[in-house]
C-alpha cells in the first residue's frame, strides 16, 4: 500500500520573509516586492491611495450621514366643523435641525365627513404659516362619504421648524380618526444631512 498525503504539504515558497511583520496590527503590502504596512492610529481605517508607495494608507474615517427622526402618533379622534383651517390637535412635531440637511415628512390618517355633500381639506403646515402640501377630500356623492386613508408628503429643509396637520370642512363635521383599524394616524419627519 502506498503512502497517503495528509495535510498542507507541497506548498510553494512565497518569498515573504518570516520577520516582515513586526508589530501587532501590521499588515502585508506589496508594490514590486513584499512590504510591511505598519498599524495606524486608533480609529483610523485602511484606505486605497495610489500616491502611496504601497497603494494603501491609514487615514481618519470620513463622517457618516446624520439621520434624525421625529414622529408622533395620534391616539384620540379629532372632529371639527370649522370652515377655516384649524390645527388637528396632537399632530405637531419638530423637524430635525441638520445643517444643509433635507427633511422628508409625511402624515397618514383616516378621515371622513358625516355630510355627503361636503369636502374636507387637509394641510401639512410648516412653521405655522407656510403650507407645505395640501389636499381636498371630495364628497362621497350618492354612494356615501368614504372613510378615506389620507397621506400628505413633503420634502423640505431640515430646519427645526414645527410641522402640524390642519384641516377645514366645507360643511358638516369632519373627522380625523385615532385608533383606526386600518391606518395608524401618524406624523413623521425624517431628516438627513
Amino acid at each position: 500500500m502506498g503512502k497517503k498525503l495528509i495535510g498542507s504539504v507541497g506548498l510553494t515558497d512565497t518569498g515573504v520573509p518570516d520577520d516582515l511583520l513586526t508589530t501587532k496590527g501590521d499588515t502585508h503590502g506589496f508594490s514590486s516586492t513584499n512590504a510591511r504596512i505598519p498599524i495606524g492610529d486608533n480609529d483610523q481605517v485602511l484606505t486605497a491611495d495610489s500616491s502611496e508607495a504601497l497603494g494603501l494608507k491609514w487615514a481618519t474615517a470620513g463622517g457618516g450621514a446624520t439621520v434624525e427622526i421625529a414622529e408622533r402618533s395620534q391616539t384620540g379622534s379629532f372632529t371639527t366643523t370649522s370652515t377655516s383651517a384649524v390645527d388637528v390637535t396632537s399632530f405637531t412635531i419638530t423637524k430635525p435641525d441638520i445643517t444643509d440637511g433635507k427633511c422628508f415628512s409625511y402624515a397618514t390618517f383616516a378621515a371622513y365627513n358625516d355630510d355627503n355633500s361636503t369636502t374636507n381639506t387637509y394641510f401639512l403646515d410648516d412653521n405655522g404659516s407656510d403650507v407645505a402640501v395640501g389636499m381636498t377630500q371630495e364628497d362621497g356623492g350618492s354612494g356615501g362619504y368614504a372613510n378615506n386613508n389620507i397621506s400628505l408628503v413633503d420634502l423640505s429643509v431640515a430646519d427645526g421648524n414645527t410641522l402640524k396637520i390642519q384641516m377645514l370642512v366645507s360643511g358638516g363635521t369632519g373627522v380625523c380618526y385615532g385608533n383606526n383599524t386600518y391606518t395608524v394616524p401618524k406624523l413623521v419627519a425624517f431628516g438627513v444631512g
Binding site: 391616539t75 384620540g76 372632529t79 371639527t80 366643523t81 377655516s84 384649524v86 390637535t89 360643511g171 363635521t173
Partner: protein, 92 residues
Amino acid sequence: MKYNLIKKTSCDDPVLCSHNIIEKLESKLNCKLHADKKNDMVNGSLSIYHSNLEHQITIDFYDKNEEPNSKHATIFKKLNDIPTESEIKKIV
C-alpha cells in the same frame, strides 16, 4: 372669541359626540356653529380632540363679519352677544 375647555368624558363615536355638543350650543345660544352647504352663514365652529377620558373642546365664535375669501367659503357672522366662558361651560 375662542374658548378652550377640558371635559372629563369618553366617547365611542366622535361624530355623535360632536353632534350632541353642537346641538346643545346652537339651540341654547341661538347660533350656528356648522355649515350645511359651501356658502352657508356661520357664527363660529366647534373642534374636539376626543382623547380617552378627557376631551379638549375648542369653541370659536367669530369676532367680526367676513365675506367668503381665499381662506373660507362660508360667510362669517359675528354674534350680537358672544356668550361668556361660564355660560358655555354650563351648556357643554
